[in-house]
């Protein structure tokens, strides 16, 4: 399994979107090719552990190859469990945010406050903005990038699973 294979598999588990969305057969945008190096580089530099990205991906690979097979839910729970280091879990959660917003998050925790802290973010590129899964999960389109036709907003959208690929 390549790093990209594991990255795609982990992304499917964490985002809840199907592989057909994360890694479509015909992938003209190929946003994963932008995300993997950015995620690898940022996780390594923010954690100070150059091995962490590979550790996360191989941890995912081990779980995905376990017999009998684990469900996506079980793999996700193990990846995000308290038994992992805080940096490990944060890197997995940052991956979720990256896929949904096309932006890199900076989390400022403030435990015990009413908000629990805040998250700033930095958009990677125009391509990452329009690739954000957040627009699919709301059954809409990226603001400023509609492929729909006049009047579509007067009718309900197609079912959610058409957007997530989980049909």
């Amino acid at each position: 399994m390549s790093s990209m294979d594991n990255f795609v598999g982990l992304s499917v588990v964490l985002t809840g979107f199907a592989k057909s969305v994360i890694n479509p057969t015909l992938d003209e945008v190929n946003i994963k090719a932008e995300y993997l190096p950015v995620w690898t580089e940022r996780v390594a530099s923010e954690s100070g552990d150059n091995q962490l990205p590979e550790k996360i991906l191989s941890n995912y690979q081990a779980l995905s190859e376990q017999e009998p097979a684990l469900t996506d839910q079980q793999i996700g729970e193990q990846m995000l469990s308290d038994s992992q280091s805080a940096a490990f879990v944060l890197a997995c959660r940052q991956l979720i945010f990256l896929w949904y917003m096309g932006a890199w998050p900076t989390v400022q925790e403030a435990p015990g406050t009413s908000t629990g802290g805040r998250t700033d973010f930095c958009t990677l590129s125009s391509k990452s903005y329009t690739s954000g899964l957040v627009w699919r999960v709301m059954q809409a389109h990226p603001m400023g990038d509609s492929n729909y036709s006049y009047g579509y907003w007067g009718e309900p959208p197609v079912a959610l699973d058409k957007y997530t690929g989980q049909q």
Binding site: T123, S146, N147
Partner: protein, 667 residues
């Protein structure tokens, strides 16, 4: 040959008002020159789109030059990387500057100092101005919403009918004189609208169809399809009334194409009218600018910043000086003077008074051109906005369609106008994007276990309802996979937002002056702004808007998420929090003190108003300077009151009317 041999009219500003005047005069065979300080209209909008896509804060100004954010490395004091306006040739105020209003290297506006001893409810408290504009070819219509409502005859008689503010010169007659120009403005912009829906509104305000809103009154295109959220309001309100008025939903007439029109496409529902329509289905002034140039009589000179107005001995205008630059941050590369028979200022309600005040070298006019009676720059207004937001009982699928397709127009006039400001209510189709910076806020909450959306913690609304989305889940849940998908979907597809455009009264002390300290890169002074919410009349309407929001959401079975801001902070203390920008308090008749935040509507109005005499105004009702017979001004700066409708249709109608006046005067 001098320019005066070439041009009949010089116009400053290539926005909608300047473009319309230029087009009308060009069609009539007049030779027109437009001086535009900003860059030219780009050959296509892909560059602006690219800037927009990459922007972290997708504010109204984010697509347009100069850069609004990440222009310099972020620091603790400047987390968004706002550029220093002192280094720019055509800086402008942006909404990202609102919270940085007291930082002179980040805010284009300078502000007068806060007086001592204020409390949260003090009417003397000063605030940041909350609205912005553009200095580019096409002007601020690049990011207008597209709403094309007329004002009503009652709007023109606020003093006569309700003893508030002022009348427009002539009162109701001003409206009737404007009617043919409203009709023409509808055609210039290309408005999609549903006539029967609007007739109901006009009849409520005693405007009869027979000629009074125009014999040929109709829209260029059929009305825009309403959103599912609009339908929900229409179905749920029943026979509701509020403060003596009926409450019903009206589809908004909009300057966007419901069918292909003016060689532009049909709206594809990009949900992005502000900051930028990617396909120009929404009208903007570049359309009319192109038409103006097509007449063969109109020339536009971009990157020409008007810097001074010259007066002749008879006090007529005899020239406008300008500075030219090549690079947005470079030095001036040239200068000159243009001359014509008549002059039109169309640089919107901040830059126009600035230019008048800068022109202070003419003998007898040391306080500025057109300013004999110290009226220039006064009466700065905006629609001060209250936002209310919530979650619908069932999905109604926001983030789809134009940003707003309907509103409540039935509360724009009534006896209550003696006591409090009137407003219209805009129904927003963009979920909590404006209200809570979504989708990012809600996403971060459920991914990282935070609660800035109030959906994932222990927040309770003012009605005492718990706001956590899943009451069976712990506070500060961190989700992934299928559960994250389900939660986000359920929340986003229910998000609703109301915006109240509250009428701000004209206050002579709300004003634009020249900063004595701050300059732009060309050495021109920057605006010095004083801005208050100085009357109970306005503040009472925030309480009214708040109560109505709660009533409306109750009718719909929606849960309210409107979040009141923390107490305002007017003074920075050692180690204390930063000063706030637009938060205030108001104690209502029951003795309850409310915390409010006001938002800008982008409607900058009133700084060179029309009036009945030179002592109370800058212009006569012909939009002509009292002091200089060949100087005219157009745009929302001429409005005596901000009234109850979005201003652009009225700006267009008044510009058409001004063009007629100028044509008459040039003969």
């Amino acid at each position: 040959m001098s320019d005066s041999d070439v041009f009949d009219v010089v116009i400053v500003g290539a926005g909608i008002a300047g473009a319309i005047v230029a087009h009308e005069l060009g069609k009539a065979g007049k030779k027109v020159l437009i001086l535009e300080g900003g860059p030219k209209v780009p050959p296509d909008r892909s560059g602006y789109m690219e800037t927009f896509y990459k922007a972290n804060a997708k504010t109204p100004e984010s697509p347009y030059p100069p850069a609004t954010q990440a222009a310099v490395p972020a620091t603790a004091d400047n987390p968004l990387g706002l550029p220093d306006p002192a280094g720019e040739n055509t800086p402008r105020y942006t909404v990202l500057q609102v919270d940085a209003w007291r930082k002179k290297t980040q805010s284009y506006f300078d502000y007068t100092e806060q007086e001592a001893g204020l409390t949260g409810t003090s009417l003397n408290a000063k605030f940041a101005f909350a609205s912005s504009y553009e200095r580019v070819g096409g002007g601020t219509t690049w990011h207008w919403l597209g709403t094309c409502l007329r004002l009503f005859p009652e709007d023109f008689q606020l003093k006569t009918l309700y003893d508030q503010g002022v009348d427009w010169p002539g009162g109701a007659d001003f409206y009737y004189d404007l009617v043919p120009f409203y009709e023409k403005a509808n055609r210039v912009i290309g408005v999609s609208g549903d006539k029967p829906s609007l007739e109901r509104v006009y009849q409520q305000y005693n405007v009869e169809p027979s000629g009074e809103y125009g014999a040929e009154y109709d829209f260029a295109m059929p009305g825009i399809v309403p959103s599912l959220q609009d339908d929900l309001y229409s179905k749920s309100l029943g026979a509701m009334s509020y403060d003596g008025n009926p409450v019903y939903v009206t589809p908004t007439p909009q300057g966007r194409n419901s069918v292909p029109h003016q060689n532009r496409r049909q709206c594809a529902g990009n949900t992005n009218c502000i900051p930028i329509c990617p396909i120009q289905a929404k009208y903007d002034a570049t359309v009319t600018l192109a038409d103006a140039v097509q007449t063969g009589n109109v020339e536009i000179r971009y990157q020409h910043v008007a810097s001074n107005i010259q007066l002749a001995d008879d006090a007529s205008v005899c020239g406008i000086d300008y500075l030219v630059y090549d690079q947005p941050n470079g030095i001036a590369t040239g200068s000159g003077t243009v001359q014509a028979k008549a002059y039109v200022l169309a640089a919107h309600a901040i830059e126009t008074p600035k230019l008048l005040l800068m022109s202070n070298k003419n003998p007898g006019f040391e306080c500025g051109v057109a300013n004999k009676h110290d009226q220039v720059g006064r009466h700065l207004m905006d629609h001060i906005m209250y936002l209310g937001w919530g979650l619908a009982k069932d999905p109604m699928y926001p983030y789809r369609g134009p940003l707003s397709t309907s509103g409540i127009e039935s509360l724009r006039d009534g006896e209550f106008r003696r006591e409090r400001s009137a407003y219209r209510v805009e129904i927003g189709n963009e979920g909590w994007q404006w209200a809570a910076n979504d989708p990012a806020t809600t996403l971060a909450d459920f991914v990282f276990g935070q609660n800035n959306s109030q959906l994932n913690g222990n927040s309770v609304n003012e009605q005492g309802e718990p706001l956590r989305w899943d009451t069976n889940a712990p506070a500060f849940s961190k989700l992934f996979g299928a559960e994250l998908v389900q939660t986000l979907n359920q929340v986003y597809t229910r998000q609703m937002r109301l915006g109240y455009l509250i009428e701000q009264l004209p206050d002579p002390d709300n004003r634009v002056q020249l900063s004595s300290e701050l300059k732009d890169n060309l050495g021109l002074p920057r605006p010095l702004v004083t801005y208050r919410l100085g009357s109970d009349y306005e503040r009472k309407s925030f309480v009214s808007a708040k109560k109505l929001t709660t009533e409306l959401f109750n009718k719909l079975g929606a849960t309210e998420y409107t979040k009141a801001p923390a107490d305002p902070v007017f003074y920075k203390t050692e180690g204390g929090p930063d000063v706030t920008s637009t938060s205030f308090q108001y104690t209502d008749d029951d003795g309850t003190t409310h915390n409010f935040k006001f938002y800008g509507a982008g409607h900058i109005v009133g700084t060179y108003r029309m009036g009945t005499k030179p002592e109370n105004s800058v212009l006569n009702s012909r939009q002509q300077s009292w002091d200089h017979h060949n100087l005219y001004m157009v745009g929302s700066g001429v409005f005596p009151t901000i009234a109850t409708g979005n201003p652009t249709l009225t700006i267009a109608a008044l510009a058409l009317q001004a063009a007629e006046n100028i044509k008459q005067d040039l003969v």
